[in-house]
């Protein structure tokens, strides 16, 4: 039985109560208490429109795309390609040729590391990443460096969780061939100065990939303005379905890159003597794609755009500041990641209390957070900690929910401290 929650918050920037009504799951209870979902960096919740789009697809026009000549196939193709156009506009890519649908951000990075990296990296070349990367932007580069003999160089971070740009400048040298950087840190919330990072690399003719998984749900992203060569992100972090995402790549670069996966759809013609490849972006989309979820992804884009990302950013910035303040008031709590410019994430440790116990006891209060290393073991090592507790906000969270989190944490300190 669903509990209807009365939310009294009405920010001047967003009508949060109306938005919450669009998300069916937000009215459920967990352990007998209203769900307080603060695990958005892990995955986001979905609005009714996205959920309905999936059902609508399977009930009314499910069909394979690009292949058949019947009505259902036409409708499915139109919806899938329509979703691509939505994603293109969402990040302001110059052309739909530059939007490759992937399984998610991780796959997008792997695509670039393999298709670009294995082709253009040679022994002695260098690839720059940072200390705050998610494993998805570390491991693919480690694998490709091992295969090519290139070396990985890592930009250090300071105590607050900010990139040291002067160290980055020092790392950029004649051997640097690629830079791959996270836009917003999932472990700490740091927002990196990606425009500047790209500009510094481009002065030396070095291409840049930006991992935007945690940026796109929280702020306007304009890939032309950022100037990056590649931008990878996932649907499920931005209120769309799992199993889909997009890689933006500048056409000039994508043209020069060999295919990533081979199979149907990415070819123009196949003989045993020679196979020729399809045009962009299809060259990089082998096999029947995740059609339904790409369409759902497009609906999530529509939803976000109707709310307005600038208003989302403004609302979340207030909420994040409120959250940081309430948590800092708790004795024995240390925030991890206190960069000047942050988004969404409140990561912390409690003296003498293990994150696992915090997670379990917050769960008792209906509060969902993530505890652990957040797929960022280097960040944990950098601060000499084994794990943190991470609350991560989205535009449907409220001050009341932050209050519940703070109260929950205080209770845990009483029980376990």
């Amino acid at each position: 039985m669903m509990t209807v929650q009365t939310i009294s918050v009405k920010s001047s920037t967003l009508d949060v109560s109306r938005i919450r009504n669009d998300f069916p799951i937000l009215s459920r209870t967990v352990r007998g208490k209203p769900l307080v979902y603060l695990d958005n960096a892990n995955t986001s919740q979905k609005p009714r429109a996205v959920i309905d789009a999936l059902t609508d697809y399977y009930e009314n026009y499910n069909s394979n795309i690009h292949r058949a000549t019947h009505l259902l196939s036409e409708k499915a193709t139109e919806a899938y390609e329509g979703a691509r156009l939505k994603v293109q506009r969402f990040v302001n890519a110059a052309s739909k040729k530059e939007i490759v649908f992937t399984r998610g951000c991780t796959e997008g990075i792997n695509l670039v590391a393999n298709s670009w990296g294995r082709t253009f990296l040679k022994e002695g070349d260098e690839v720059i990443i940072s200390w705050m990367e998610h494993h998805s932007n570390i491991v693919p580069w480690q694998l490709v460096c091992e295969a090519t003999g290139a070396k990985l160089r890592v930009i250090p971070i300071n105590e607050r969780g900010e990139l040291l740009l002067d160290e980055y400048a020092r790392l950029l040298n004649g051997r640097t061939k690629f830079v791959s950087i996270i836009h917003v840190s999932n472990a700490m919330g740091t927002v990196n100065p990606v425009r500047e990072i790209v500009s510094m690399a481009h002065k030396r003719g070095i291409p840049v990939l930006v991992d935007g998984a945690q940026a796109v749900p929280h702020m306007t992203v304009d890939v032309q303005e950022i100037g990056c060569d590649f931008y990878a992100f996932s649907s499920h972090k931005m209120f769309g379905p799992t199993g889909t995402g997009a890689l933006y790549g500048r056409a000039e670069l994508l043209e020069k890159m060999p295919p990533f996966l081979g199979g149907g759809d990415m070819i123009r013609s196949v003989t045993f003597e020679k196979t020729s490849y399809n045009t962009l972006p299809y060259k990089f989309e082998a096999g029947t794609p995740n059609i339904a979820d790409a369409i759902g992804f497009g609906v999530a884009v529509d939803f976000l755009e109707s709310v307005g990302l600038d208003r989302v950013a403004a609302y979340e910035s207030e909420l994040l500041e409120y959250g940081a303040q309430k948590l800092s008031e708790i004795d024995g709590l240390t925030m991890i990641g206190t960069a000047e410019h942050k988004a969404s994430v409140l990561s912390f440790v409690l003296d003498g209390i293990h994150p696992h116990d915090i997670g379990t006891l917050l769960d008792r209060e209906g509060i969902a957070v993530r505890t652990g290393q957040h797929c960022c073991q280097p960040v944990m090592d950098r601060y000499g900690i084994t794990a943190t507790t991470r609350a991560s906000l989205a535009f449907y969270n409220t001050r009341e929910e932050i209050d519940a989190l703070a109260a929950g944490v205080r209770k845990i300190i009483e029980v376990l401290g």
Binding site: G32, H354, H356, D357, T360, G372, Q373, T386, V415, L416
Partner: protein, 152 residues
């Protein structure tokens, strides 16, 4: 059982006491057996020291850091295995593992487990089973003469 009661089951007095004041939390200099237990998913890590003489565990102790459940489990384990034969300690390992991995409504064989039964509540929290069993995997490794145990 209500959700509140479930949590009280897991974080009950005995477990909280053992986690805040772990017994045998020391090193045994020159111990005959030593093993390290590690849970890569959360970073819980413990080093176990055993003195075994004539097939009897004469002394057991541990060092390391971890969550309340893993610390309490290690503390109680060291108390319980002291004075037991290697064979009996291994039997306890099997029983403990059986208890924490049973499904919540399954009947479990608690004979011989004594106060270790306080961990039966962890069955309701599958994510924490590894926390409770880390110490036992580690003592099993030590008794088998191995140096490392992992929950994976």
């Amino acid at each position: 059982m209500s959700d509140r009661d479930l949590y009280r089951e897991l974080y009950q007095e005995v477990i909280l006491d053992h986690s805040k004041k772990p017994r045998n939390f020391r090193k045994i200099e020159g111990a005959d057996r030593q093993a390290v237990g590690y849970n890569p998913l959360c970073g819980d890590r413990l080093t176990l020291f055993l003195d075994v003489e004539d097939g009897i565990v004469k002394d057991a102790s541990f060092q390391g850091s971890g969550c309340a459940i893993s610390t309490a489990s290690a503390s109680m384990m060291t108390e319980v295995v002291k004075g037991k034969s290697v064979g009996d300690a291994e039997k306890l390992f099997d029983q403990f593992r059986g208890m924490v991995t049973a499904s919540p409504d399954e009947a479990i064989d608690t004979e011989g487990l004594g106060k270790l039964q306080v961990f039966s509540g962890v069955r309701e929290f599958p994510a924490r089973v590894k926390c409770a069993s880390l110490a036992w995997h580690t003592v099993h490794a030590a008794l088998q003469g191995q140096n490392e145990a992992s929950t994976e």
